[in-house]
Symmetry: C2
Subunit: 259 residues, 2 copies
């Protein structure tokens, strides 16, 4: 099942996408819902971001190919940081260019896990029951700002600007990461195409391990990390992150104010 | 004015502390309030944590004495990370010992700024209008975990465990950091006593600069960083952070599950 957030008249709502038709629901995917019978064609959807999560956790160095290329060791445990919830953007939202001198800004196409049920110190075998589903993500990063101070890598700042966490277009509840891959294109040219099977810590393992560090709440997002092919974006660039079985998340860098 | 959160019968509420008397209010400090006339003595207060913020930002290397002692350069800009909102604890809450092997855990007594009005790219001269007030904080840190992986300092993880962000006991709206100091005691023995005038980036400057990185929301918390005197805690230790003009935040490390 594909969940999305959109406008229904003046009201923001959850909806279900089936065969290019969007049907709004009363309620939420986590707490129970009822279909309303109100349907519209996918093309007419006014997309909205997911409800703002309490936490966006994001992985560094979680793919073998990226580690090999960059000379990073395989980590003994998941290495993660937090993106500010105010960085969340939805499908179609512009990604604002930060004010001030932050240097070059890069896309990072990723798989996102969306938590459906509170998880505290669970085992990987229990993780499926705590995951609502999966989405595409663009973990936007001010790559020069990240290392500008040699004494302190500025992960949270470089990745936390408003609009720097694009997640969408839908949350697919039936997605199986095992055989899937992530493709990122910039203005139509494919720049990343990597298999999710290359993760050091696959999704259920991540949910379990991170739930021992912090209590995961419904709506929380885990970005699984990116692989090779990261490059800076020019203002005006359209970045699309596609995962077969989920869909394509599309955002323009520098297209205006955040949604 | 000193704001606090407490129970009023079965209901959690905002209240005002005056002369050791607590009076509950309808409403909130940010959106308007009315006194209820329901009063009780301070000693009978059943304390609650502040409402969970959307973000807890925390400073590294913001005090001259700590920089001098540790050989850190004066930073050109505020160096900050995020603590998970789920790490928030209130006055009197136990700080749980993390499960698993995280190594030694230290207290860090700090000044907390609590945001009262949304701030996006403001100037320091405007900051006062966006600050609700100030509180004491204990920015608890798993100091060995922080550097356990040589390739990636785990700031968010080492400081993000449930209960690792104690803030309280009250939010003082009239506090002036200029002449004040922070004292941290462990089981009654003073371990930190440093002046807030030693900050590289004082509170209004922090609010302004951080508001250019991320939109600050009402309730968001900025921890101003700590100075010298940080030491590990033993389970059972009572840590008290006192700032004259605000009060004393008291928590026991390892006292049970988080509130």
């Amino acid at each position: 099942m594909k969940w999305l957030r959109c406008m229904d008249g003046d009201v923001e709502t959850w909806a279900i996408l089936e065969d290019d038709v969007v049907e709004t629901v009363d309620g939420t995917p986590c707490d129970g819902h009822a279909r309303t019978g109100r349907r519209h064609a996918l093309a007419g959807t006014r997309w909205r971001p997911l409800p703002r999560p309490s936490k966006i956790l994001a992985l560094w160095n979680n793919f073998g190919a990226a580690a090999a290329k960059n000379g990073w060791s395989r980590p003994a445990e998941p290495l993660w940081f937090l993106k500010a919830p105010s960085s969340l953007a939805g499908h179609g939202d512009p990604i604002p260019v930060p004010a001030g001198d932050v240097g070059r800004v890069a896309y990072e196409g990723e798989l996102a896990i969306v938590i459906g049920r509170r998880a505290r110190a669970i085992d990987a075998s229990e993780a499926a029951a705590h995951v609502l589903g999966y989405a595409c993500a663009n973990d936007v990063t001010a790559i020069e700002l990240l290392g500008r101070d040699p004494s302190f890598p500025q992960w949270c700042r470089a990745k936390g600007f408003d609009g720097f966490g694009a997640v969408g277009p839908v949350v697919e509840t039936a997605f199986d990461p095992a055989g899937a891959s992530v493709r990122t294109s910039v203005d139509g040219r494919v720049r990343q195409d990597y298999p999710l099977s290359d993760m050091f810590f696959p999704p259920h393992e991540l949910v379990a391990r991170l739930s021992r560090d912090v209590t995961l709440e419904p709506g929380d997002v885990i970005l699984c990390g990116t692989s090779v092919g990261v490059l800076p974006m020019k203002p005006g660039a359209r970045v699309e992150v596609t995962i077969d079985g989920i869909g394509t998340l599309s955002n323009v860098y520098g297209g205006g104010a955040a949604g």
